[in-house]
């Protein structure tokens, strides 16, 4: 690319006076050469003449469409808001269930739920924990029974550790 071609790619503020003059000259040259051609001159005149009349109806039609579009967008937005509220509500319910479960059913237990955990997953986890709890209860029951059979002073777990 020559230096003269390069100046057409730069912004006006970056051009020197001489460079700006080159652009102006080349544009003026184009203009004058195009006007020399009669057929083009008449075409240019015809093109310049063909312009529609101002239409207030067009303006009101455009503004009406904008109004309608804004209305639709407002509807879409309120639905979106509702959806986001529902999301928050579901999150709050999950949190409440976790708190209730950890404080009432299994106090002190360390449960980690991922953020995206659904209610179904929570229910599954609850049932797993419940079945584990009952298994421990059964074991304790049996241990109690076992310790009773060994005598009231016998302590089951210390027996195991010693054994």
């Amino acid at each position: 690319m020559s230096r003269n071609d390069d100046i057409f790619l730069r912004g006006d503020s970056e051009l020197s006076e001489a460079e700006s003059r080159i652009i102006e000259e080349r544009i003026a040259e184009d203009q004058s050469s195009s006007h020399k051609v009669d057929s083009l001159a008449s075409l240019q005149l015809t093109l310049a003449q063909s312009s529609p009349e101002p239409s207030e109806r067009f303006v009101s039609d455009v503004m009406q469409k904008i109004h309608e579009q804004e209305g639709e967008r407002a509807k879409g937005f309120s639905f979106g808001e509702l959806f986001s509220q529902a999301h928050w509500l579901s999150g709050a319910c999950t949190a409440a269930l976790v708190i209730a479960f950890t404080s009432v059913v299994a106090p002190g237990a360390d449960f980690i739920f991922p953020d995206s955990q659904s209610t179904t997953e929570l229910a599954l986890n609850t049932s797993t924990v419940e079945s584990e709890t009952s298994a421990i209860e059964t074991l304790l029951f049996e241990s109690d029974a076992g310790s009773q059979s060994l005598g009231s002073d016998t302590f089951l777990f210390s027996d195991y550790s010693e054994g």
Partner: protein
């Protein structure tokens, strides 16, 4: 009414800022200011009056929706022409596809012409424009009909001044060729 009169004296930049603040009367003034130019340009580009009105409306609607993305380093008018040009070229391509598959034909008469034009000139003009590619037609119309400067053309078409010069030169040459062919002078 008083508000409409107030906006009449505002610059494009002030009207854009007011529109962004939710003052629809300001945007209505922008539509009023540019509607004849955009409608005329779309009519010449598409050569179908009713379709041209729809596309001109869409141009303003798109401008309204995208107004927050408008950067004041270009003028509002060239930005508007850019939207109209892209929309018209898209529409021309759609029409060509439909025409190719025989779904419809491109109407040949544009009714947006001044009284001073003769029918002969009008038909010639339509034929000349029809014989040019969409890109050449748009650059020629923006320059000769809409009176955009080279710098404004570069902004509208998103290219360099040199590229504008080259495109315009080729478009003019093509227009002369089509006209001479129509008149049987070659």
């Amino acid at each position: 009414m008083a508000q409409a009169l107030f906006f009449k004296d505002q610059s494009d930049e002030e009207l854009v800022a007011a529109s962004l603040e939710g003052k629809n009367q300001a945007f209505a003034e922008l539509v009023r200011r540019y509607e004849t130019r955009i409608r005329g340009y779309c009519a010449q580009m598409l050569r179908n009056p009713s379709l041209a009105e729809d596309i001109a409306q869409e141009t303003f609607l798109k401008a309204y929706v995208k107004l927050s993305g408008f950067r004041s380093d270009s003028s509002f008018s060239t930005w508007l022409y850019r939207i109209a040009t892209n929309r018209c070229i898209d529409e021309c391509r759609k029409q060509k596809r439909r025409s190719f598959f025989g779904l419809d034909t491109i109407p040949e008469i544009a009714d947006e012409v001044s009284d001073s034009e003769t029918l002969e000139t009008r038909q010639q003009l339509v034929q000349i424009l029809s014989g040019m590619s969409d890109e050449y037609r748009s650059v020629l119309l923006l320059r000769e009909s809409q009176g955009l400067s080279y710098a404004e053309l570069a902004e509208t078409l998103g290219c360099s001044l040199e590229s504008v010069r080259a495109k315009l030169k080729r478009a003019r040459k093509k227009a002369v060729e089509v006209r001479e062919r129509l008149l049987g002078t070659t």
